[in-house]
Symmetry: C3
Subunit: 412 residues, 3 copies
């Protein structure tokens, strides 16, 4: 048990062996691969967070906002439900995830897409010697979209190649959406994090009027503040090293101009910022700060007071190995938990995000924070539903229909 | 193992600890609590069977009857399916129950509500340290209604308080429907039992005509007989002490005038009428009879021959403790089983109910009774579907729409 | 463990005991039973593959073709989705089967039928002493159709009798569709195999024109060739003895005139053609060939070169008993696997079918064959969805509506 790297579980071995046929394509640089996942200037498969350009992120947010608005009235709901009522999707979740699963379900249902699911680690057919690719091809026979989550890194990517190959030979082929594949990618989580920031940094308020807006008011205190994600100071706190969502979000933020990213984690190779991500971010011109505490002074002022947004994470202790366990006893983890006092020192508009679930035993965000207006983590969930619906609308090419309906009925 | 009261399973402990924050509200008398579960003179959350007044029960039965009628023709079905097609529900069943689960599914589907489910005892997020209340709040982000069944007493009640608190602070909040919480409440089961009695005691028949009705005919033999649930003699037989459905139904029947309730069970504290319920019923002015056999003479005549309705139950032997097991060997359980001879002595119109499943090994209702016109237990299941649909229509405030459509198209 | 025939698992025993009440009806000859599963000259229950006459098979294929065509355009999809949107089905799969399950789900969804499922080997109620027939009757209370798959032979048949008895006594009764019951029957798999052959033997091609057709072209090489399933040479290869799908398909092919069926399997009682099926086929006038290899000469030419269609199967080694295991080591199983060279010797139009899943470790069909135009096994899956939708349309009596709509909108 102490060293299980030498003996991976049999299913992984099987899947990994199956992946070999796609290995040379998987090993190419991302820039070569990304275009293969688009078709007609539109995402065909959603595999990597880096498929989302800033323009596309703005587009998707616009669609999500419209879907959200339309969902407030019955006519709008009925319009949305009718949009893709002829489509059937397969949610193939061989790695458990209630939150992502239900979010996609709800997103599909908003657009009228019928949902089907396979959630067992192996389908019954796989126990009879079927490869995972035969399973995927079966799903593509019955359904119009495959949303998949798997503990196997690169599996979703390989399935996208399979679908591309089928299309190239005139066979039936459907889009693949990666809902989390192993430790490497979780693109739609990054999408919802970005969307939450996009909404927050609109600084809109129901009380806005020609006389004054919330943005005007905040600007009295922060005159430099601009709308949008560019030129902002983002903090990430907790399990930076293993946080797949941190990695994906940082990748997307790097697309915006003049951002600073601060990573607050214990100085331990398992938990702190990885070389890979650091290099990538530096190449994009991101300013990086690494700290061991939210109160660490940066340019003479505590980090927590300078942040425009704070992204908290859970310490993924279920992935600790024995060496980690031993080393972690010496770490003061209290530095990676919020409390009322810390939150009170944050900028009044700075959202607190968390990919959830949070760990009530560790307590990185205690419930006493929930009522604070900066606490955005519950809204994040609902944002995830809207932005995933927008992504589905994009994939199935009905986003323009949504815009048209919205402008005719709600703005005309 | 012999005494597990001292060591509850860990999940219960966790849930119970989580419940503590709501304890002071839970401990209030029911009369104080019930109003909090209504909004605009309409049930907002369905937690206790005692939320149903006799007026509301009549209302719901009326809606259920209309839904049933509308479902017989395609136009009516289409009308119903369109009513709530914009709503999504979460069936959160952490205590297994195929029957109640499917009944709610079907009820939702009749009104076009899209169903989602989580049926594992713990969601994957809960294993990562998430509280059940974070899970519930996540569900409320994605869905418009939470129907929940849990082995934990009071959990549904606590979730209703959570939702009320969210509403009070301007946050998203959805209705909670209790589909069985621990040993204490199962309000929608009581609802379907009542609805079955309401329908039976209409004494309607397809053969009724201006010349004569089934009711007239029965009245020749029973001149005192009136329509409705008041002034009737109800028998409950079997596992009275542990029968959650017995308790809930008795509570509702106590709202009707002049009812007599007979409880037929072995004289053993686990199985016989509890002090709590006895006191409550007496306070309501119910006449109570306790007997050890269906044939016991009451006022000189065997009980079985006097009943207007008989509610049979299964002995829940899976909840026996070792002391029960020992004591039960001395009990003659044959007294708590029906047979053809016993049934033949019942009043011709007296329905036999059972919350199901029945136990084929114990045999409280042997299959030979199934063809008897008094056997209502299979119709009960279908009644449950209709009355749950009526309840959902009430919660979502579309019951008046149903009435209007019904009167315009089917009676106009 | 070595001899588990003497000690069947308890659930089987229970189910088998429950089946006894229907035993005398089950034991009747098929010709007496089949009419009981029809109503108004239309299938009411689908239990045996031999319920499908050649006429009915042609009818169903016609409906399936129309559904397939309609599904290509949005108006057609919307028409189909509306057809049975008022119907709710129960997929009661107590024997796991992802493929058949999803195929039925998709088929239902094409016609707008709402799906519900119970997939546990035992429902929670059955653990409380409920018989499987009480469960089935509960399902029939809530749903309009029960599609069931069970490891228990004859269970679906018995449930059909239960439903017929209910109908006869004026009770609610719904159709039963057998989606695989034990080792004996899997009628809808045979249906999709036949439909794949029907489509293949239309010899249609998108390139067909008044100037020339694919059929004309093939006929230059095979002048005797006719359209349709009659007068053709069919090969079955692999696990003939235990292949439930082989048996069902052979039964249906026996209804066509002048067919030859070749069974290629090791000469071992577990794997080769059973006496039962041989007798039945001979009675129908089928010409039977039994061979031990696909290359065995028949009338002087290797079998593989003469086939009009080849049905490959997986060796169901999970059903091997110890005696089989020992005997099988002496068998050269390479004879029951395809490879490129073998396929290249087949007739250019001869489809290769496989009920799937295929076994990648055994390799009866290696992936290198997948791109061959004769490989029909992936299309088979999609055909299964269309023909199951056609079957549902037949059961619910909307097939004529489909024909009418098709002719008015697509041919008019």
């Amino acid at each position: 048990m102490a060293d299980n790297e030498g003996a991976p579980p049999p299913t992984t071995t099987q899947d990994e062996r199956d992946l070999l046929q796609y290995q040379s394509r998987i090993d190419r640089p991302l820039t070569l691969k990304v275009p293969e996942f688009s078709r007609d200037e539109r995402l065909r498969h959603v595999i990597f967070s880096r498929q989302f350009s800033v323009d596309l992120l703005e587009d998707l947010a616009g669609t999500a906002d419209k879907i959200r608005q339309l969902s407030k009235v019955r006519a709008g709901q009925d319009f949305l439900i009718g949009l893709l009522s002829h489509k059937r999707t397969m949610l193939y979740f061989t790695q458990p995830s209630t939150r992502t699963f239900l979010s996609f379900m709800a997103a599909c249902q908003i657009l009228g897409i019928t949902c089907n699911e396979v959630r067992d680690p192996s389908t019954s057919s796989e126990t009879k010697g079927e490869t995972r690719f035969d399973s995927i091809r079966m799903f593509s026979s019955y359904f119009d979209l495959i949303i998949m989550r798997s503990p196997v890194a690169r599996l979703a990517e390989a399935c996208a190649y399979l679908m591309n190959d089928l299309a190239a030979t005139g066979n039936r082929s459907v889009p693949i959406v990666n809902a989390g594949s192993g430790a490497d990618q979780h693109p739609t989580q990054a999408l919802l994090d970005i969307y939450t920031l996009q909404r927050t940094f609109q600084f809109a308020s129901p009380k806005d009027s020609p006389i004054g807006t919330r943005f005007d008011e905040i600007r009295r205190q922060f005159p430099q503040l601009t709308r949008g994600l560019a030129h902002k100071f983002y903090g990430f706190c907790g399990d930076i090293g293993r946080g797949r969502t941190v990695r994906s979000l940082a990748d997307l933020l790097a697309g915006y101009e003049g951002v600073t990213l601060a990573f607050v984690a214990p100085r331990h190779p398992t938990l702190s910022l990885g070389d890979d991500l650091r290099q990538r971010l530096l190449t994009c011109g991101v300013r990086i700060i690494e700290a061991e505490s939210l109160e660490e002074p940066i340019d003479g002022r505590p980090l927590i007071e300078q942040l425009d947004a704070l992204y908290m994470t859970r310490i993924q202790k279920e992935h600790n190995n024995p060496a980690d366990e031993a080393a972690f006893t010496a770490i003061d983890f209290s530095r990676y938990k919020l409390n009322r006092e810390l939150v009170s020192r944050m900028k009044c508009y700075a959202p607190i995000l968390h990919p959830f679930p949070r760990d009530q035993h560790f307590g990185e965000i205690p419930p006493e924070i929930d009522a604070d207006p900066r606490a955005m983590y519950f809204r994040q969930a609902r944002n995830g539903m809207w932005i995933r619906a927008a992504l589905l609308a994009h994939i199935f090419n009905v986003d323009h229909q949504i815009s048209r309906y919205f402008h005719e009925r709600f703005e005309g």
